[in-house]
């Protein structure tokens, strides 16, 4: 069961982030000032993939809650941090971002740090 929950957390998080990144780049520059926030909320309401991404986020959140209820946090947090690497790979191949040596090494260092921090 824990592996099923973990795969739901990782997949839903990655899908949510990919959709958000893709849609927000399409939407153009946004801000969170008084006027910017209204425009941002309108952008979310008008883009169905952004709404879907928030749905994925909710699935990820509830699966994570179920995971931490059944498993120790020292397993749940570093294991779900594996979405970091999956998302970096998907960002390179799906979103066509440039992930060079420095960015790739940085992401691995952060992953190592999150694993140490969670234990």
């Amino acid at each position: 069961m824990k592996w099923l929950l973990l795969s739901i957390v990782v997949t839903a998080t990655a899908l949510s982030d990919l959709l958000q990144s893709h849609e927000m780049k399409r939407a153009g520059e946004q801000s969170v000032g008084a006027r910017g926030l209204a425009r941002l909320l309108k952008t979310i309401a008008l883009r169905r993939y952004l709404i879907l991404s928030i749905g994925c986020l909710a699935v990820s959140f509830f699966a994570f809650m179920a995971l931490v209820q059944a498993e120790p946090l020292s397993f749940a947090v570093p294991a779900s941090a594996s979405s970091f690497i999956l998302e970096t790979i998907l960002a390179k191949f799906v979103l066509k971002e440039h992930v060079g040596v420095r960015r790739g090494t940085g992401a691995l260092l952060v992953l190592g740090g999150v694993i140490l921090l969670a234990r």
């Binding site: 780049k25 969170v32 941002l40 998302e87 979103l95 440039h98 940085g106 260092l109 999150v114």
Partner: protein, 138 residues
């Protein structure tokens, strides 16, 4: 693609806001739920009562604002840039946990914090946006 100084400033302002909002939101949520007299269960009524607690409500509001800030950030910067750079929030959450909730932090956890800082610093030296915005705005 090189970001203009203005865009870089706006990106780092949003980053700063997000990095503080998320751990503060989590801290407020943790503080509120720890002091909530009932055990949270599957009963939605208990959750609704918990949400009436000012610290829980403030935490939720900050986390919603953090989500919106992250969305705005993703309109300016790559996902592969935002993910590692915002991980500094994990370090702040650990620090807040130690200072405000009196949680024990081990040497291994501080080592993890150092690794996160190193990784974040390394990613921070890369270009924030390596793809053109699809609507034509740089």
């Amino acid at each position: 693609m090189t970001a203009s100084p203005g865009m870089r400033f706006r990106t780092y302002s949003l980053l700063g806001l997000f990095i503080f909002l998320r751990p503060l939101g989590n801290l407020s949520l943790a503080w509120g739920t720890k002091h909530f007299p009932q055990v949270l269960s599957l009963n939605p009524a208990v959750y609704l009562r918990a949400m009436a607690d000012p610290f829980v409500a403030l935490g939720i509001a900050m986390l919603i604002l953090a989500l919106l800030t992250r969305l705005a950030l993703l309109s300016l910067a790559d996902l592969s840039f935002v993910l590692p750079v915002t991980a500094v929030g994990y370090v702040l959450a650990t620090l807040f946990g130690q200072v405000f909730l009196h949680e024990a932090v081990t040497a291994q956890q501080w080592m993890g914090s150092v690794l996160i800082f190193m990784g974040t610093g390394l990613v921070g030296t890369t270009s924030q946006n390596t793809t053109p915005n699809l609507n034509g705005r740089a």
